[in-house]
Subunit: 114 residues, 2 copies
């Protein structure tokens, strides 16, 4: 509205969808679980070992959040022994290209862990 | 090494770089600040307004973390009035394609905020 120096006073908005993505995927373990399922379905114990440092109850909670968000599905595989596997839904699969980009970016541009 | 049912017992590892990306970018506001700087340099107050709901001290802290990680640079623009702007470094710019993908993915696949 005013005519203040235009070069830096343009109104700026944050990208709400991007903010939502970072909030959702940045929740401890959520993104990592999705990233681990990128390579195919996995059982609960396999996921827990791959993610490392996660308790059973937190992993259960995250898997059910990811399920409610429609990104991960739980399937019962007829046995014997009967088993349960978790896999990405189409919505979860749709994240794979972005995860590949993010991973490549992090390798090049993020400082190594302390 | 063993010959247990191969279909779901392959050892699985999480992608450490991806985990690091989600941890780093998922830290409250960090990803959003980078996303906001995608459109060009911004001053402190402009960033604070765009991000919304962030205090001056937290924004300062995040900008200095992003600076230490080599993703955001601070420039003093000779005035008058003298001003300071923040912009993405090459490392920060390299994240832009992944942010675009993430944002498009979130629009389609994430449940709307409660």
């Amino acid at each position: 509205m005013t005519t203040k120096s235009p070069e830096i006073h343009e109104p700026r908005a944050c990208d709400a969808a991007l903010a939502r993505a970072f909030e959702f995927l940045g929740k401890r373990w959520s993104g990592v679980i999705l990233g681990t399922l990128r390579d195919g379905p996995a059982g609960f114990s396999e996921l827990r070992r791959a993610v490392g440092n996660i308790s059973d109850s937190v992993l259960s909670e995250r898997l059910s959040e990811l399920g409610s968000a429609g990104l991960v599905q739980r399937s019962v595989v007829a046995g014997p022994p009967l088993s349960v596997t978790y896999s990405l839904t189409d919505g979860g699969q749709a994240l794979v290209p972005a995860m590949r980009e993010l991973s490549a970016w992090a390798k090049k541009n993020l400082p190594p862990p302390a």
